[in-house]
């Protein structure tokens, strides 16, 4: 309960930050009116958008509406922000879920294999993959994927979001980027689990090697993995800006980037708030799953 209260407080703080940051600076009315507008026109727009009222009043009104799912109208599209987001959210979700799949498909086998034989060739190869993943800028990796798989081999579409196939390269680019920390965590957890007393006991009882690894060791090593997965999922929503822009996916991140470039503030505010709330929910969920998986945490 205390955690949920704190999470709510964090959400309010984020909304306040996002609102003041975007409103305390620059004059939206001038941006909307364009360069040739007269002073009277700008004043009319200001009146129309309610920009001449105090910041605190506007924040209160915005938050009250936002809680009910009304984020106002986009200055550029002239349609409700909620509609714009509802249209794009599925694309970002598809991308994030597929990227999570890529991340787990890479990090679990590599992490386990590396832990089984520390300092072996597999371990070193896994480390190399991790180190490269942390050093490559993700937009660059994405462009290289496009050059190799779309332009040279012609087996994947370079951009768009029409079919699931369009999401494969972006998911690889986004997923690979969050693989290294996950792989390190699994490797570390497996090494600890495999050297523990209960595994030695299990082996002594004559349980076969693979069964020990997967049923006994992995089960314990997986607990921190679950919470990191939830947090990474939250991060991917915010981190999808770059990848969605490179691949031209009509998702939340691309919308955020376009709207920021156009100073379409109602959209930017809404996206920031939604991404932040989603992250908070994921962190809470991770806590609950952990408590459910590990009775030791529950009793604390």
């Amino acid at each position: 309960m205390q955690r949920i209260g704190l999470a709510l407080l964090v959400c309010v703080a984020v909304s306040l930050l996002a609102f003041t940051l975007l409103n305390a600076s620059g004059d939206v009315a001038i941006a909307v009116a364009g360069e040739e507008a007269t002073a009277a026109q700008i004043e009319a727009i200001r009146e129309d958008l309610g920009l001449n009222r105090p910041l605190a009043v506007r924040y209160g009104e915005w938050l009250a509406n936002a809680v009910q799912g009304d984020f106002g109208n986009s200055l550029f599209f002239r349609q409700p922000v909620a509609e714009l987001i509802a249209y794009r959210l599925p694309n970002t979700m598809t991308l994030a879920v597929m990227a999570l799949g890529v991340m787990l498909a890479l990090s679990v086998p590599l992490g386990v294999a590396a832990a089984l034989r520390p300092n072996s060739i597999i371990d070193r190869a896994a480390m190399l993959i991790a180190v490269l993943g942390q050093a490559m800028p993700n937009f660059w990796f994405a462009l290289i994927l496009i050059v190799v798989f779309s332009l040279t081999l012609g087996i994947a579409p370079p951009s768009g979001s029409a079919t699931l196939g369009h999401f494969v390269l972006p998911a690889i680019a986004l997923g690979y980027y969050s693989t290294p920390p996950m792989m390190r965590l699994i490797r570390q957890g497996m090494i600890e689990a495999l050297s523990s007393d209960y595994i030695r006991t299990a082996r002594a009882k004559g349980i076969s090697g693979w069964k020990v690894v997967f049923k006994h060791a992995l089960r314990n090593a997986v607990i921190p993995v679950v919470s990191l997965t939830a947090v990474q999922f939250g991060n991917m929503l915010g981190g999808s800006v770059v990848i969605e822009t490179v691949f031209g996916i009509q998702g939340l991140g691309f919308l955020a980037w376009e709207s920021i470039s156009r100073m379409d503030l109602p959209v930017v505010q809404a996206v920031l708030l939604i991404v932040a709330v989603f992250y908070v929910v994921m962190v809470l969920l991770a806590d609950f799953i952990n408590a459910w998986l590990d009775p030791r945490i529950r009793t604390q």
């Binding site: 180190v131 942390q134 800028p137 100073m263 920031l272």
Partner: protein, 294 residues
């Protein structure tokens, strides 16, 4: 008040640097970083051309490994006929400036928060924990993009926004380090000898968390360099014609099909720099806690 001097583990600190330089990965990373640093400092002496000088008669000339290359431009020229090698050399300046100044800014903010939370505990700790949680909730790239869009894309704005965003790891790690240390005997001894709080913090506490600070600082420097590249790539970071590696990748994008080396070279440069810094960070972490290596 001047009490008798305490003998704090100074020997261990010296050992930290010495052990770091005995680590081959650290030396390898440090040498690479040193070379890139020298390249950035002496850019005007090394660069064969002016990085901004355009030559419309010699656009997208091939780099040395492709057919038809001209050794006058080892990395070829970009879409405006500017010498690519010179732009890469000058680009190191942007990345290193961003990395260093962001870490100074975020390091100071994070350390102050971590020390205050860890040392005083209680309500102060609760408030700082709340600040850390709030910060973690903000999507870094989106906030940075928005701030740059509002305040304009100058080096100062990018450094400030990244510095104000990337302090979380410093705060988290230093907070727990201080919590561990504050109950140790030498801190209690210093307290009982009547050391003032500032003296205690600066003389006893800070020197003993420096090694952990160094580890975070390397990783955050790499993080800042990657973020600047992303911001510049998205057009909301350092502005043209400044040679920033991220921006060069963005400018090379329109030549993706036929002249893909235009994105290959600056991206590889970012990769090498970040790799060197991360190698140092990994090595420092191993030196700090050798028991975690395997």
């Amino acid at each position: 008040m001047n009490g008798p001097e305490l003998i704090v583990p100074k020997a261990r600190r010296k050992g930290f640097a010495a052990r770091a330089f005995a680590n081959p990965a650290f030396v390898c990373g440090a040498v690479t970083l040193g070379l890139i640093f020298a390249m950035a400092v002496f850019a005007p002496l090394i660069a064969p051309y002016d990085p901004l000088a355009q030559d419309m008669t010699n656009r997208t000339a091939s780099p040395f490994w492709l057919a038809g290359a001209d050794w006058a431009h080892p990395f070829g020229t970009d879409g405006l006929g500017r010498d690519y090698l010179s732009r890469i050399i000058y680009g190191a300046r942007i990345s290193l400036l961003i990395g260093i100044f962001t870490v100074i800014t975020s390091g100071i903010i994070g350390t102050v928060m971590g020390v205050v939370a860890g040392y005083f505990g209680g309500k102060v700790d609760l408030v700082i924990n709340f600040l850390i949680m709030t910060r973690l909730t903000l999507p870094v790239i989106m906030v940075a993009l928005a701030v740059v869009a509002i305040f304009g894309g100058s080096l100062t704005v990018v450094v400030l926004v990244l510095g104000l965003l990337l302090w979380d790891r410093f705060a988290v790690v230093i907070r727990s380090a201080v919590m561990q240390i504050r109950n140790q005997e030498y801190i209690q001894a210093a307290q009982s000898m009547g050391y003032s709080t500032p003296k205690l913090l600066f003389r006893e506490l800070l020197p003993n968390i420096f090694d952990r600070f160094a580890v975070i600082a390397t990783f955050e420097m790499a993080h800042a360099i990657l973020l600047e590249a992303s911001l510049s790539f998205l057009g909301l970071g350092v502005q043209p014609p400044t040679p920033s590696w991220g921006l060069m990748v963005a400018e090379g994008r329109q030549y993706l099909l036929f002249d893909s080396w235009l994105i290959l070279i600056p991206g590889a440069a970012i990769c090498v720099l970040v790799l060197a810094i991360n190698m140092m960070g990994d090595a420092l972490r191993d030196v700090l806690a050798p028991e975690n290596r395997n």
